[in-house]
């Protein structure tokens, strides 16, 4: 029996040269120091990718890439097809985790200086993998084809439409037609299941080939500099001194980390569940929020926060320059110090990037720039803010609600946050200032002059002037005091009547 097995094994070995293959791949020598927790993120990214392929194949068996059917097929997956929801959940959380561990991998490679000579191409192929992965994340979100996805495609088309000259053609290529419909979904489907995974496979192969060919970066030591002339010799000395076969000597922590990762993904899928689909993609339904998935929230926040007119910078110049810098990084700092302790700029870049993306993502989640569309009809003003008011002021509170002021202005923290909270507005602005602001707008507030009758304005401002804490008096005009001596003529009181005339001209 043993001898038969041995014969078969030997026969296979003669045909497939497995020992050689093994020695060149899984068993290739790596510096012993790389068997570290910090070196596990790369394999974790690969694991996520495998999970995505596996679950993706099976999801594609039920998913129908048609605008008319996709929603229904996702509902079937969620509620009818046994375990369909688990598969969707794993696919969704696998994608989220893939982006996260990929970012961690990239950060580690950057901080460890692993992109320097001779691993430039490894870094560049990694950057391509990053972009392909983000493309997969975005096109995957489109597969959900609910309102958010629909308007997300709309945002993509609008961004493309802003590109000069080729903008229009690009929009049509993206949408596969003149309008967002089934053709657009099919294009993204093709991208999501054929083109991008194919590209990912190809570049993962290149990436791994380079990792095998140029070796895994040794743990850098402060003060040991990379020099193009000496590094190759230096590395082979390290291998000679402390080289161990990757499998089984350096892979143990990878296995543990990957096991935990898979457990986390499946756990999230089981306990949090799949994402959506939300409201069906019917453009006539007016409840769209159109927020993209987590990896793109920070870009969404940029679009809202950047000053008007800066969009060309945000959408073209910034991505172009940023990706160019990213790709050229190994040539910008090709040699020298690898250890992060001696590279303060690198550390600063990492900290700033994480802070920036983190803050922008937080902003995007809270979305303070979006009006709260139902605040005017759904949030009554709390009793303490109407108690003891005069009839005119009460009338003003009604105007305040009825004119949707509440959608942008909160009272006691409730309501929209697009404009300032008005809980204590009377302490900041005087009656004439408020009249002017309401009628003329300004500072990102629309002018309401045309839509408010003088009586409404008077009532509204009267109410706003009552918004101050009991122990703080409302703001008063300083004009009366500052008037030059000798001038006796009284300032015209800002009755809404004459202000409305002023507002009209």
């Amino acid at each position: 029996m043993m001898s038969t097995l041995r014969t078969v094994a030997l026969w296979l070995e003669r045909r497939l040269h497995l020992t050689k293959l093994w020695n060149q791949t899984a068993g290739h020598p790596v510096p012993a120091s790389t068997g570290s927790w910090f070196y596990t993120f790369g394999s974790m990214t690969l694991t996520c990718f495998c999970i995505q392929i596996l679950t993706g194949i099976f999801l594609a068996m039920s998913y129908v890439p048609s605008a008319a059917e996709s929603y229904h097929s996702l509902e079937l997956l969620n509620y009818s097809i046994p375990l369909g929801w688990v598969l969707r959940g794993i696919h969704y959380w696998g994608s989220t985790c893939m982006v996260i561990v990929m970012m961690l991998h990239m950060t580690q490679v950057f901080l460890w200086g692993a992109y320097k000579y001779p691993r430039e191409l490894t870094w560049i192929s990694g950057c391509i993998l990053l972009f392909v992965t983000l493309g997969l994340a975005f096109s995957g979100q489109v597969m959900r084809f609910d309102t958010d996805a629909y308007w997300g495609v709309g945002i993509g088309a609008s961004v493309a439409g802003r590109i000069p000259i080729i903008g229009e053609a690009l929009v049509h290529i993206l949408l596969g037609g003149p309008i967002i419909g089934s053709d657009a979904l099919s294009r993204f489907f093709s991208l999501h299941v054929f083109i991008l995974p194919g590209a990912l496979l190809a570049f993962v192969s290149l990436h791994l080939r380079l990792v095998l060919g140029k070796g895994i970066n040794e743990q850098p030591k402060p003060g040991v500099l990379v020099k193009r002339e000496t590094y190759d010799k230096h590395y082979s000395e390290i291998i000679k001194r402390e080289g161990v076969p990757f499998v089984p000597a350096a892979i143990n922590k990878d296995i543990v980390a990957n096991g935990i990762l898979i457990l986390v993904i499946v756990g999230l899928a089981l306990f949090v569940g799949p994402n959506g689909p939300g409201t069906p993609a019917d453009p006539t339904i007016q409840i769209a929020d159109a927020k993209p998935d987590t990896p793109f929230l920070w870009l969404f926040a940029c679009a809202a926060l950047l000053p008007n007119g800066s969009e060309p910078w945000l959408f073209f110049v910034f991505p172009l320059v940023a990706s160019l810098l990213l790709f050229l990084l190994p040539f910008i700092t090709n040699e020298g110090e690898k250890h992060w302790r001696r590279r303060p700029v690198a550390v600063a870049i990492v900290i700033l990037s994480y802070l920036g993306i983190g803050l922008l993502t937080y902003e995007a989640i809270t979305g303070p720039w979006s009006p709260q569309m139902d605040a005017w009809s759904g949030l009554p003003i709390k009793a303490e803010y109407v108690k003891g008011r005069t009839p005119l002021e009460l009338q003003g509170a009604v105007v305040f609600q009825d004119m949707q002021c509440r959608n942008c202005h909160a009272i006691a923290g409730e309501g929209g946050h697009r404009g300032p909270d008005l809980t204590q507005v009377a302490t900041r602005m005087t009656n004439p200032q408020l009249v002017r602001q309401v009628i003329q707008g300004g500072g990102n507030m629309p002018a309401f002059g045309k839509n408010l009758s003088p009586e409404q304005t008077r009532a509204l401002v009267a109410y706003l002037c009552s918004l101050h804490p009991p122990n703080v008096p409302p703001a008063r005009e300083a004009v009366g005091v500052l008037k030059p001596i000798g001038e006796t003529q009284p300032t015209p009181s800002p009755t809404p009547g004459n202000v409305a005339v002023r507002g009209e001209k």
Partner: protein, 181 residues
């Protein structure tokens, strides 16, 4: 690494190759030529198919929004039309909403639903007479002009005409800055 396969190394040995052999050279060139033509014959339809969406880029055409009687004067109402270039697979996405403002008589302005900033659907608020965008807080006045927020211009406007008591608009393209309806 030592291999116990005796054939392995010999597999890579070959007699010296004469790269200047002219007959082989001719065949090689012929082969490359044939395949270049074949490649073009396969490639052109593929590329043509892919970019046909530009060529077939349907021009906007007149679509009816129905009788003008459903739109009261001096008011703004949502109207929904079917995308003139819809296909069976489009489902609900073939419905395209727009905002119709009837000034008076047969005087209409029809706004696209898409925000001029990044295309999100703007919503009309009758009381304050504003269009508000849910995405980044763009706001427009009743006449479609920009009131506040990030949009670089006013709302996109569809060309319209009244024929036989029906309101028609020229539609069929997604309004974007590259293609302002």
């Amino acid at each position: 690494m030592a291999s116990d396969d005796p054939h392995e190394d010999s597999a890579h040995e070959m007699p010296k190759y004469d790269y200047s052999a002219t007959r082989r050279d001719f065949m090689l060139k012929l082969g490359i030529g044939i395949n270049a033509i074949a490649g073009a014959l396969v490639g052109i339809p593929i590329i043509g198919f892919f970019v046909s969406s530009i060529v077939k880029a349907n021009q906007p055409t007149w679509v009816s929004l129905g009788s003008i009687d459903q739109f009261p004067e001096n008011a703004t109402r949502m109207a929904v039309f079917l995308n003139p270039y819809r296909t069976q697979a489009d489902g609900a996405t073939a419905n395209v909403p727009c905002w119709v403002k009837r000034e008076n008589g047969e005087n209409f302005t029809v706004f696209a639903i898409n925000c001029a900033h990044l295309g999100c659907p703007v919503r009309w608020f009758e009381q304050s007479k504003l269009f508000l965008c849910p995405c980044h807080g763009g706001a427009y006045y009743e006449d479609g002009s920009r009131a506040a927020g990030p949009p670089p211009r006013g709302l996109f406007v569809y060309e319209n005409k009244v024929e036989k008591g029906e309101l028609n608009i020229k539609a069929g393209l997604l309004p974007t800055l590259a293609n302002p309806a």
